[in-house]
């Protein structure tokens, strides 16, 4: 009897994440996918056809036949969308690389710090989350704007004669994204580096490896899971980022988030907006799935 209960319990434990995925990913995905196959209309909601099961099965199948992939053809035919995806992926990739460049030494230093100091350092990384994300981005406006803190400081030092124009440029977007997502890079890196057995480094050095060689041949390969996790956590949200480019960037930056906003709010075209969102999901999810599969295979091979 008890064994049966245990079996059910273990099954239930597996069901929970699947249920989570179903309710919070698959169902919304299908709704958005369905809207992306519809057409705009001046009505509530602003697209057609809408499914009404109360009108019977025949009406349902008929509205099903009205759906079409025309909106996706629309996306293909205007270079605007392709360019927006490209810009977004490019900005996200550069930001992820910069975050890794800054985050890795931070995580490494934290992992090598004395045990007593680590909780404090961890706390410092998490601390910014205690203030609203939006307020921190606004604070960057105050720092970077022409008569902001940074320019005043540089002028006072005499390094520059005229204020630098930073807000409204790509540089400001990179600063904003790298700053905002840095903790997501540092935390998984720290988690892997902290578990690393540093006696391996000593062994390598005993065997005549230079410190740099030991770092490249041992530390980096062992921290790959952390690097991958950190890069994913920064890259994925950065592609769809809307707030940071809107507040810090210039009008000329065309990211996919803004394009989506335009379709949804300015054109009131929920179907095309949905199609943009679905394509964005495919652009992100498919490569990531392939990557993870390759990773899993590689890990199995190593065993």
């Amino acid at each position: 009897m008890n064994r049966l209960a245990a079996a059910i319990a273990s099954r239930a434990a597996i069901i929970v994440p699947y249920l989570w995925l179903l309710v919070f990913f698959l169902v919304p995905f299908l709704i958005v996918f369905k809207i992306s196959l519809s057409f705009t209309a001046i009505s509530m909601p602003p697209y057609t056809p809408t499914f009404d099961l109360s009108e019977g099965w025949a009406a349902f199948t008929e509205s099903l036949s009205e759906l079409s992939f025309e909106n996706y053809l629309w996306l293909r035919d205007d270079a605007l969308y392709f360019n927006a995806y490209l810009t977004s992926v490019g900005i996200a990739a550069v930001s992820t690389f910069l975050a890794l460049l800054i985050g890795y030494p931070m995580a490494y230093a934290m992992a090598r710090a004395p045990d007593s100091l680590r909780p404090l350092l961890l706390m410092l990384v998490i601390l910014p989350f205690w203030t609203s994300f939006l307020i921190r981005v606004y604070a960057w406006i105050g720092i970077l704007k022409p008569e902001g803190l940074l320019n005043q400081f540089l002028l006072w030092l005499g390094i520059i004669d005229a204020p630098l124009i930073i807000t409204g440029t790509y540089a400001a977007i990179y600063i904003g994204i790298v700053y905002s997502y840095l903790p997501f890079m540092v935390l998984p890196l720290y988690a892997t580096l902290e578990k690393m057995d540093f006696s391996l480094i000593e062994a390598a050095q005993d065997l005549g490896s230079t410190p740099a060689g030991a770092f490249w041949k041992i530390t980096v390969p062992l921290s790959v899971p952390g690097i991958v996790a950190g890069c994913m956590l920064v890259f994925i949200p950065a592609v769809g980022e809307f707030v940071i480019p809107d507040l810090l960037g210039g009008s000329q930056t065309l990211m996919i988030g803004k394009t989506l906003w335009n379709e949804f709010f300015a054109n009131r075209d929920w179907p095309v907006a949905s199609a943009v969102a679905i394509v964005l999901l495919l652009v992100l999810v498919v490569p990531i799935m392939f990557f993870q599969q390759a990773q899993a295979k590689a890990q199995e091979r190593d065993r």
Binding site: M44, S251, F265, A266, N267, R268
Partner: protein, 366 residues
Amino acid sequence: MKSCNTLLAAATSVLALVLAGGAAAQDRVVNVYNWSDYIDDSSIAEFTEKTGIRVVYDVFDSNEILETRLLAGGSGYDVVVPTGLFLSRQIEAGVFQELDKSKLPNLENMWDFVEEQTEKYDPGNAYSINYMWGTVGIGYNPAMVEERLGTSEITSWDIAFDPENLAKLADCGVYFLDSPTDILPTVLLWLGKDPNSTEQADLEAAEEVMLSVRPHIRRFHSSEYINALANGDICFAVGWSGDVFQAADRAAEADNNVEVAYSVPEEGAQLWFDQMAIPADAQNVEEAHEFLNFIMEPEVIARATNYVYFANGNKAAEEFIEPEILEDTAIYPDDETLEKMFTVMPYEPRFQRLVTRSWTRIVTGQ
């Protein structure tokens, strides 16, 4: 287990008490969704005091956000305040219910000039009453502009749409609203064309004008210019009247030696109207009507105008409006200027798409 049951029983009885109490008090509520910073708070308290109706007051800061919530349905609001251009499309979509004018005796206070204008969006003013109205004009910093143009007064759209003029202001900062429906009609007016034209050739001509001044525009944004003008970060913005007055007000409060002026250029300007309406699925229709009627009390709406520096559509309210506001022709334009004002109507979805695409080319260069 027993203690658990007792707790449950206690909780149930408390819940029952709360429910009973709520029903006994006959809590009358009206859920209002208005623009942020758009009313004098004392008016809301006064309404509750007079009628016993509790006001749940919620705010938004863009028509798009409001529209999305309305179109999705079940917004839960009883009174909302869209701008005319949006209102007319929403009426067509079936978002609103017709007003019961027998419950709105204060309609007699309204201003016929404004009613004539709003009728273009809402035929017969069947669905809405006017709350505030204003213009799309030029906000600027007179001192910085004088330094560069030799005059501290801007009276023409030539400054905004002639690249030679705007180039002189580029270094002190130029902002435009990030909204094609608020800029392109004015460009058409300046070109001597019909602001409401839906000819593709006219749209292309307007785009050409905007592309020619684009290099001198630092940013397209629909709210940032308020603070930017107030701080002296920029010297020129094409924006909404009330926002510019708000910037002037903030600059005066900060006492930072920044002055902000507003101009309605002599060629004319686009009018906009914020209208109060009741969603079709509103839960508290009776209370919503009482609220609308209260808003049309001359003293109440005058107090709102004295607070936000926007003109309202209530003729009877004029005697309660502070003279400095009523006499300011930038807020209450004289009859001659009013003649030159124009309104814009919503585009067909197909033309709207062309307009948005053209705007994206102007703003991003793609």
